[in-house]
Each structure stands twice: as structure tokens, then as C-alpha cells.
Symmetry: D2
Subunit: 397 residues, 4 copies
């Protein structure tokens, strides 16, 4: 049996290579998808795969696709789950989709991932695998063998698989272009402040020496296309904002998060570009969408984020919501001025050809506004409430 | 005819006193309700009312009631309209309610307010008046005579009413314990960054010399009751957080806001205590409410905020939503650690006897978790999506 | 000034012709749009327009467009406002749109309608006019002159305009292909049962002599395309179901309805084809959409119906919702068996290539279902509720 | 070990008695809760329990509690899941709660139910058990041993447990005061009309010889309290409406239902009293609630029904929704006239001291309505849509 495995080069997935070979008797194809991880990790992954005797190692640069098809679709939806900009969640979909592509191309009968049975990623992999390729078998070796970390390490040592020294890397980390998550160990206690040394993308705000600065982000149909007038491709734009906002210490997030299985967990993230882009996008929406669009879109965005967090990128309802969102974004074109400060950013201005603001005064003239008209509006808006109150006060003893 | 007028001592309401006397032939009772304005303004209001020859000037200290019945109810609802913590909106209700009380006690036939026909406050006054006292006539002199600012000033000068010199106070300002709003003039251009000198409650973050500091806010049933372990009454707690967070430059807000009549307007606020308390409250909710409660409460909170923004504090639906919210807040008791930084605050820890977190590991043991179980959960959660996908791929040409 | 007037030939709009000529000094173009009214009324309209000396009378057969662009879009949205299938509401939009078209073609400066200021139709006309042709002036003579029925009749008699004898037609009636509304007079008392003689499209169920019968309605992408296997165009399909279901006495509706201005009104409708088609459409959706699509689509459909009831067919949010709805309807293709009985219909069967049902057993086999898995699903679905309960019971005194 | 078993006397639960004794070595207490089943079944249950050698058989008449605490709470919520009035679902909660009570009183260490792992009832039992008594072990013998029907029958025959002859009872049936469900066998094919002989509570509409008749149902705070002016206790009221509406053939339901595990199933129900009471309740709500209450309550009711269908009666969110619903029901007092016809009922009138209707005309007079005011309302309601349209048409090429 051939198996295409989503491979990162870390302990979990390297153990999986050997397990698949040994317990499942499989020929393993390792698939390593670049969504903006540390290049060193990617190189290491290739080397390790080699050493483990895989039949093939496939490396795919999916950064453009990740940003343009996944991250920017999430920007349109103000993608945010309980305060989390969905960075890891979003990346799982192109990774899983690429693994399926490789599996089909290479004639594999199964796809595999290295997730445990406790976390969120298993949902994103399992569901994407089953939606995109129902004919392929899904194998999750760690989960199927119910291995815990201790058992994994024992197995790794027994099979000569290099185990990262825990002291150097005491946390579990995931990183891509849209953000970085840091969890585990002491961070799990929701009462303890997270230490400064867990962050690598963001400078500590206390140490930022720069003065505040205003940048301008340009959007077209809900998607960021330029910074300070300089047009950039998605990956470049996100990278440059990660560097710039990160140098201001912007985008640190800590929260209590409801994991898909129902556990609450303390989570820590840093996402400098995401923080700034999402803030600017929302401000532009508030400029060009009608009040009723803004009001209902909050409900749609919340549901969208919940589905994407929970593994349902390729689900019919998620795609129906995309149709709604795309319809709203037709007018989300314009420029937003964002002030970068040590530790935080804030919007300070916006311009758009679709702005519903600039017509204001004109409209008032044109519509021939007489203040007395407002009294009529109020009377009818509150007519039923008034009838109800009057009636109840008469019935009261 | 006797009229009870909501009186602030400013130009609009002082012009109203004379208009009511002259055009309506009314005996005017001025009602000045303290919700945390500048004490100087309150004294000035009493003096001016005297000079205008009112039959009675009533001064009511409603600060406790404002904070405990209105502001803290809004905290439970995470009261927030498009980014605005509803400070002015919330204050209008106790003011209107007190005017009605005075009118009834003093045998007035009418209640009056000084709002124009362009803004939001007329909704809050008109609707509250009509819901609480349908038998009283409502008079809005500025609106009924369709006066604009120029005409008001002419009228004021003709009648010897002191007109504030515009140059000193170029903006229109409203202030109470929950926040301060600054609007008008150059601020109305949504593309121009607001100047630093519009703020009085908050120091400019760039000038803050203090180091970051962690404070602990205690909550009981959704309401803040202590800071750093020191129990305080509502007014004291809000005042002390306004001073403390204000000294860090926390709580400046600028946004595009959809006014009730449908116009978009650029608004500026500062609300240091509100910023910190609302952030902490939400973090505590995320610790003690179930995921499904959190999810649906977002919809309820959004609707609640819209109603309260729009004049409907005493509306039946608003009260139904309160019943829902109160039910959720029974468990919102605990402590939240908030880190104050120059210009921003962030939650860094939380503790609660009702926390759904701390049971986590226990639960996993107790429930006898086997990772393989997760595979079943995923299979059934995505069953229909999988069937739908499979079916469509078979039907595809 | 030239004015294009939405013209029905009834008292209101005929009075408007003369008022526009006399008070506004206008050249009137009457526009009569056929959406399935009684052909006699349409002929009468042309004759009356002639007699009133209009500069032009335009007759437009918009039945195909009405059914295909408006009615069938409403079917996809399960269009229903508080129990009302929106028949009159839907027809107002093509009528208003055609009046705008004529106005532009004929170089008119204004568009006009004959609605009073009390009802719903003024919203649909005013808003559609202002959205489709902001450059045209809108005139609503009855409303602008604040005429009541008595004054209208006086004016009509004075100007030789024929006034319908009230005794023959004691109710106010509106009819089109999607249904008929009957209101006014004794019907307005919500406590009194409506008399049988108000209905013309539906036989009294007590008098139906036929036995029950099963028909099959075919749908493609959410739209009905055939009855009992016979493919029909939209107008023909609706007409034939109106006749058939009407002969069974199906589709009588009485309800309390919240009008747009806030008044509650007792309303009576009959809509035989709408009753059967909407019922069948919903049954098909329940067969092919996922549970989560069905759940959220209820919210979307309700909001869609509210917007369409309230005048917002051409509103941005309404169009965003259409995008969502169209995305869901891609799979709503299949056949529904409906049993017609005297007075009611019910669905008794459905078939679809997109059915999520038929895979059921297969799936269970394929997925290798073991009952014990369900226990895991239940455990995790209720994990947080269980933790919350346990915690509260420990804290309870 | 002592185990309290939810016992019906049917095959599943009787097999469970023996399994618990044999495989779990348990002393079994059978708990039979009367929620309105056939009295013959209840007697048979007692006899069978005796024969099986249980240590104790407990019979509890929970009919009053079922109707007043569960069914009427569902009426307030217009309890309805995809067209199903939740009859079986509602009954599971008092049954499970009583089993817990007995277990605690009798010192049992475990509670048990006879559900398979395929259906919905296991959710309601498991979750209620775990929420009300986390300290008790839950045993589901059929599910834990993964028995299918064939294996159950073999086991029953081996142990001398009487097996119902399938030919007489080809369907799986559940019945209580709120309705009856019929499923299985040929009924499962969603394309085949259900045969008439599955119904026992409802006469075939074709055979009803009675003429239509109007009855009046009285409500107090959302709960039915009288029929035709005769005050009745809950059980009596429901029973008498079951008989009366059943004699008209009212309340037959067939639908495609999304089961909790995600399967779609064709379901058949009959629920005469539920059909009439729910219809009347909704009509009364439309008379006394404000439009905005009605609009949002649809969302709340839908979510409530989903939770109750899915096992979450004792869940925190469900209880929060109850608080909202109870707040709305304070005014749902009045009388509704319902016309019973062969096969269907319809509301034909309503009266209430809280009606928002009867004030209508008065209000209009009192508020001094001038039709021209409506034009202002329309202008502002559509202000943003109009600005958006105008802007887009200018930007269009």
C-alpha cells in the first residue's frame, strides 16, 4: 500500500513515517507543503524524509495559493474565532488538499496525518481528506494507536528518530504566513500571564524605540493589494506587514479558546500582519457597506469562522456563506490609514469611491431635509413599543 | 402649561428655556441630571436656569443609578455598537426617566428636550418619554422650529443668552462616567486622522512614561466589583479605572458609525474604564460560558446594543434580551488580570470558581478518553457534508 | 412636466391622473403592467386612461418576467412574511421597474403612484423608484394631498370619474398570478371569522366533491418546472396549479400581520399555487440540503422575506442574500409528490439525484458503523454542559 | 451493583434487564414512567418486570408533570424541529429525570437505558443522566454490546423473553400525550406515500363525516388553559383536544428529518392536540408581541427546538433561552378561535387584553397621523440603500 503523508519533519510526523512502514507495511510518500514556515524546518524535513527511507519526498511551495485563496478569503470574512485569526486552521486546508493531489497523482491508496486525537487539526485533515477524496483511506497513526507523547518518544528513541530536546523548545509551535501559535507547558494555566520570550515575530512593546507611524493599506474587493501606495502580491504584502507591524510589537493575542472537541484551552498567538489587515478591512467595510449589511454580516462572519475553525472549508454551507460574502465585497475597495504604535495599531482614516459617507451633506440638501421629519420617523419606529407599554400600564393593577 | 425640560446648561437647552416660555407660553422646570459630567458645568447650569427665570430648577445626582442600573447592565451585554461603548446613549435613559419623574411630581403636562432633528439623542428622549409617560406631551423646540445653529445663535444673542465662543471649544462634546464623545468640525472628515488635542481623559500614549502594570478586576454575576482586591461601589470603581487607564492613554476610539437616521458619521470617543472593563468581562465570559452560550450571546449582544443605541431601553424586546443575558451572567464571577500598557490593555490571566477550564484534565481522565473516540466524533460531525460531496462528484460530468 | 404613473384603472390611480394634470400641470403617461390581474380590469384601465386625456397609455405584459424573475426567486427563498406568501409585495417591483423604464424612454421627469400614506405599497414604489432612478422626481398625489377615501370620492364625482359602487365590492382587493388579497371593512376585526364569500380562487373546502389526488411537481435548481411530468413555462405552471389547487379549496390564509409602519392588521389571502409550490419546495430542500444549511437558511429566508415585504428588492443586502440562496439552490433539483385534499395539501414523497438520504445505509456499512462510536459522539457533544453542571452542583450550598 | 433501568416493557428494555443481570451482574430496578402511553403497555411492563426477577419495579405517573413542565414549556417556544412537534423527544427528559430520582433514592450506582447506537433517544438519556447525576455510571447494554435486532431476538428467545410478532406490528411506534411516531420498514422510503393504516389517533380525513366547527382555546402566559371556555388541567386539555382534533383527522405529519447523528430519515407522526395548540399559540403571539419580538423569537425558537431535539433540555444555553421565552410570554394571554375541518385546522379569530391591534385606529387619531409623514419614514429607512445605488451607478462604466 502507498500512503501520502502530510509531513512537517517534526517528531509526530517522523514517527508516523516509521509507523506506517512498520505497522501498516506501507510505502510512504512524504508531502511537505510550504505555507510560510521557517525555511530551515523545510530543509530539515527533506533530509529527515530521505533518512527514513520514504519512496518519495514531495516539496510544494503553496505560499501564493495559501495567501490568495485561503488567507484573503478569510480577510473578506473578517475571519476570527473567539479572537483568534485562524492562522493554523487556514493553513491546514491547502496542506491537506495538496496531499490529496499527490496521493492521486502517485496512485496512493491512502492519505495520512500525524495529529493526535486531542487537538483541532485532526478535524481539518480528516474532513478535508474525506470531502476531497472519499475513495482514499485515511490513516492517523498516532491517534489509531492511542500514543501519548511519552510513548512516542520511546518509539522514536527505539527507532533512532531524532527527538527535539524539550528544554530548548519547551512549547508546541506552529507557524505560517498568517501567524504563529505557541502552546503547551506552563502556558496552559489560564491564570498565569504568558512570558515575553514565547514571541519571535513581535518585539516586546516595551522595547520598541520607534515613534508612531501612519501607513496606508489599499484594498480591492475586500482584499489588500498595496501598502503606502506600493502594489504588492499577496505573499509579499503579508510578509512586509509581518515585519513592519512585528517591529512595533503589534499582534500578540492570548485567550481562552473552545476547542472543537469541547475543551477550553488557553492559547497564545502572534499575528502582526493579520492584526493590521483585519482591523483595516473592518474599517473599510464600515465605510462602504450599509448598516443592515454590516449587521447581518457579523452573523455570517461568525458562522464562517466557526466552520473554518472546525474543519469545514469544503463544506456546502461554508461555500454558500462565501457567495454571500463575495457579494458584499464588491464595493470594499479603497484605502485605510492605520497608525502603528508600540504594541497596538488603530485606524485613523479611510477613503473609498464607494463610501456611503461622502454623499451625506449632499444628500441632506438634495433630500430637502426638514428636522420635523425626524419626529415622524421616531413615532413610527416606536409605534408598537408605545402601544404595548400603554396597554400594559392600563392592565397593571 | 408646565414643562419639565432636560437641561444641561448649554446653548441648545438654554435657548429651549426661552423658546418654551415665549413660544409655548410655558412655565419651565429645568431638570439637570448628574451622570458624571464636569461639576463646573452642573453649577453653571443651575446659575443659568436661575437667570432664565424658570419656575424651578431640579438637580438630581443619578450617578449611582446610572452606573449600577444602566452601565453595568450594558457590561453584562458587552454593550458595543459598531465599536462604540454606548456611553452617551446609556446616559440618555436615566436623564429622560428622571425628567418624567419630575414632570409627574410637579404636575407638568409636557416634557421637553433640546435635541435637533439630525442626531441620535432625539430618539432616546422621544421614545423614553413616550414609553414611560404616554400621557405627557413631548416638546422638542429646536426640532419643531427647524432651527439650525446659526438661527439658534441669533436667537440667543437677541435674548441675551450667553453663547460659548466657538474658537475655544471647536467641537461638540458630551461626557459622563462611561466615556466622552468629541465630534464636529474637522473631525467629520473620515479621511483625516483625529488630532491629539481632542482628548482630555486619556494621556497621549507617546507621552506615557509609566511601565506596564497588571491589575486584577473582580466580577460578580457579570458586574465589576473590585480592583486589585479592593471592593468598590460602581461609581468609585469606574472613576478610579478612568483615572488609571486614562493615565496609560487607554480607550481612544475613532470609527465610522451608522447613525439611527441612516447617515454614516466619523465619531471619536475616549472611554478608559469602559475599554478595560469590557475587555475583562468578555475574557471572563470566555472562561465560564459554554461555547454554544458564547456563540449565541454574540447575536443577542449585538441586537441589544443596536436597540440601546436606537432609543429602545424600555422596549419589550430589549427586556426579553435582558432576561436571556441575566441568565447567562449567573456564572460570570471571578477575577481577570489585565495588563495596562501605554495606549492599550490586554488580558493576561483569569480565575473563576465557575471556570470550565480547570476540570479539563480531570475530565479527560474521568471520562476515560481514548484518542480513537475522536475519529468517531469527526466522522459523524461531517457525515452529511461527506455524503453531499460524494453525491455531487458522482453527478459531475 | 411629463409624469409616468403606475396605473391600474381603479379609483385611486384614476383620481391621480386628474390630480397630476390639474394640480401638478403634468402630461400624464399611464403605465399598466399585467402581472396576472383580471383581463377585464386591464381593458377597463386602457379605456379609462383614454377618457382621462393622458398623453399616452402604455400596456406591458410582464407576466413571464414577474413569474420567472420575481416569483421563482421568492420560491427559492421560501418567501413568506409572517405566513403571507408576499403575492402583492412581489408584484410591486416589476410594476415600479416598468414605470421607470417607460419614464426614461418617454423623457418623463417624474414617476408617480396612487398609494395612500397608510399602507405598504408606498414603500415598495417609493424605494424602487429612488433606487432605480434617483434622478426622477417621485409624486404620490393621494399621500401628498393627505386625501382620505371620502375626499377622493368627492373629487372623483366632481370630475366625472366613475366611482365603484361599494356594495358590490365591499372589500379592497389585489390580485396577481401569485395570489389574491382581500382586506377592509368587517374583515379588519381580528376576532371575527372571515366569511366564505370573500374567496374567488378557491372553492370552499366543504363543497369540494373530488377525492384526494397525488400530483408530482418537478424542480430544477429551486424552481418548479413541471407538473406530473409535463414541462411547463412559469406562467402556465402557476396558472394550472392555481386552477387545480383552487378547485380543492387549498391556499386560504388569514393572519395578523405587522405592516411596515408598525400597525398590526388582520389580513386575508388566497394563493393556491403558492401554497402547493412552497410546501413542495421546502420538502425538497429538506431532502438535499445539509442540516446546517437548512438551519441557517431559515434565518436568511426570514430576513429576505422581511426585506422584500418592506420595499427592499433592489437593496444591497437583499442581493447579498440572493447570492447565498442561489448557492444553496444548485442542488434543489428533483420531484415532490403532493397529495391534494379538500382544503389542504401535504407532501407524501420526494426523489432527487442529490438526495442525502439514499446513501444512508450504504454509508453506514461503508463507514463501518459500530454503535459504540455513538457514545463517544454524545460524550463530546455534551462535554461542556456536563462540566458546567458538575461545577455548579459542587458550588451549590 | 444496583442499576435503575428506564423500562417500557418492550423487547429492547426487557432484553436489557436480562443483560444487566447476566453480563453486568446487576440487581435491576425497572422504572416505568407514565407519560401517556397505552395503559395496557404499562400493565404489561409491570408483569414482565416481575417475571424477569427485578429487585423492584417502580411505576410513576408523570403525566401532569410531563404536560405542565415539558410540553407547555415547548408550546411557549413553538417547539418544532423541521416540522416535528418534538413529542418523543420531550418525553425522554421526565423519564430520564425520574430514573435518576429512583436511582438516588434506592442507592443505585448506575442508570441504564435500552437505546441502540443509531437513534436519537440515546442522546436524550445519556446527556440527561450525565447532567443530572454525573456521579452515576450510565449503561446502555444494546449499544455497548453492539447488538442488532436479529441478535436481540436470538438472545430473547434463548432467555425466554417474549418477542412481539413482527407481522402484527410491522412498525416501530412511540406514543405519549403529545403525539405518536411511526417509523421503520416500508415507511423509510422517502418516495413512497405513507399508508393510511399507520395512524391510530387520527381518522382518515376522507372518512370524516362531521361538518367544520369552531372551537376557542384560552391561553394564559403562553400556556393553554381552556377549551370553549371550560377550564381544564393540562392533561385533560391535551387529551380532549387529541380526541376532538383526532376525530377530524387533524395532525398527520410526514417529513424528512435530520437525525442527531447526521442521517436523514423519513419520519411519520400524528399529533392532533399539538397541531391545534401550536397553531393557536402562534396566532396569539402574532397578536400581542411586537414585530421585533416575533422576528427574533423565531431564531430563539428554532435554536431551542434544536437543543431539545438533540438532548440538551438541562443545558445552560437551553435555560438561558427559556428566560428569554418566559419574558415574551408574560403577555401571551387571550383566546384563539380555531376552525376544525376534515384533515386540517385554521385560525379564524383571536382576542386578547394585550392585543397590539385594537389600539390601531385610536393610535392613528391620537398620534395625529398625517399621510405625508410616511414619506419621511420611507426616505430615511432607505437612505443608505439609495446612497449606495446612486454611487454605484455613477461608478459604473
Amino acid at each position: 500500500m502507498r500512503v501520502a503523508l502530510a509531513y512537517s519533519g517534526g517528531l509526530d510526523t517522523t514517527v508516523c513515517v516509521r509507523l506506517l512502514q512498520e505497522r501498516w507495511g506501507a510505502e510512504v510518500i512524504t508531502v511537505c507543503v510550504d505555507v510560510g514556515q521557517d525555511p530551515k524546518d523545510l530543509r530539515q524535513a527533506a533530509e529527515r524524509a530521505e533518512k527514513m527511507g520514504v519512496v518519495k519526498h514531495v516539496h510544494i511551495d503553496a505560499r501564493d495559493e495559501f495567501v490568495e485563496k485561503y488567507v484573503f478569503r478569510s480577510v473578506k470574512a473578517n475571519g476570527n474565532y473567539e479572537g483568534y485569526p485562524l492562522s493554523t486552521a487556514l493553513a491546514r486546508y491547502p496542506i491537506a488538499a495538496k496531499v490529496v493531489e499527490v496521493a492521486k497523482k502517485e496512485g496512493a491508496e491512502a492519505v495520512a496525518h500525524g495529529c493526535t486525537g486531542k487537538g483541532n487539526d485532526q478535524f481539518r485533515f480528516d474532513i478535508t481528506f474525506s470531502l476531497l477524496a472519499p475513495e482514499l483511506k485515511v490513516i492517523a497513526p498516532i491517534r489509531e494507536l492511542n500514543l501519548d507523547r511519552q510513548k512516542e518518544i520511546e518509539y522514536a528513541e527505539k527507532h533512532g528518530i531524532p527527538v527535539p530536546v524539550r528544554k530548548e523548545k519547551p512549547y508546541s509551535i506552529d507557524e505560517n504566513l498568517w501567524g504563529r501559535s505557541i502552546e503547551g507547558g506552563a502556558l496552559e494555566d489560564p491564570a498565569k500571564p504568558p512570558p515575553d520570550d514565547i514571541y519571535t515575530l513581535t518585539v516586546s512593546p516595551e522595547k520598541v524605540k520607534k515613534r508612531r507611524r501612519i501607513i496606508t493599506i489599499g484594498f480591492e474587493k475586500g482584499v489588500p493589494v498595496s501598502v503606502d501606495g506600493k502594489r504588492m502580491k499577496g505573499v509579499e504584502l503579508v510578509q512586509s506587514l509581518n515585519r513592519l507591524a512585528g517591529s512595533y510589537g503589534i499582534g500578540r493575542i492570548e485567550l481562552m479558546e473552545d476547542r472543537i472537541l469541547g475543551l477550553k484551552a488557553r492559547e497564545n498567538y502572534e499575528a502582526p500582519a493579520a492584526a493590521v489587515i483585519l482591523q483595516a478591512h473592518k474599517a473599510l467595510e464600515q465605510t462602504v457597506l450599509t448598516k443592515s449589511e454590516l449587521f447581518f454580516k457579523q452573523t455570517v462572519d461568525q458562522l464562517w469562522s466557526d466552520l473554518v475553525y472546525s474543519g469545514f472549508w469544503f463544506d456546502p454551507l461554508k461555500e454558500d456563506l462565501d457567495a454571500f460574502i463575495d457579494s458584499t465585497q464588491k464595493r470594499v475597495t479603497g484605502e485605510v490609514m492605520v497608525e502603528l504604535n508600540p504594541g497596538f495599531s488603530r485606524v485613523v482614516g479611510r477613503k473609498s469611491p464607494h463610501s456611503l459617507y461622502e454623499e451625506e451633506l449632499v444628500s441632506f440638501e438634495k433630500f430637502g431635509f426638514d428636522q420635523r421629519e425626524a419626529a415622524s420617523v421616531i413615532k413610527f419606529m416606536s409605534l408598537q413599543s408605545a402601544i404595548a407599554r400603554r396597554r400594559e400600564s392600563k392592565l397593571a393593577p
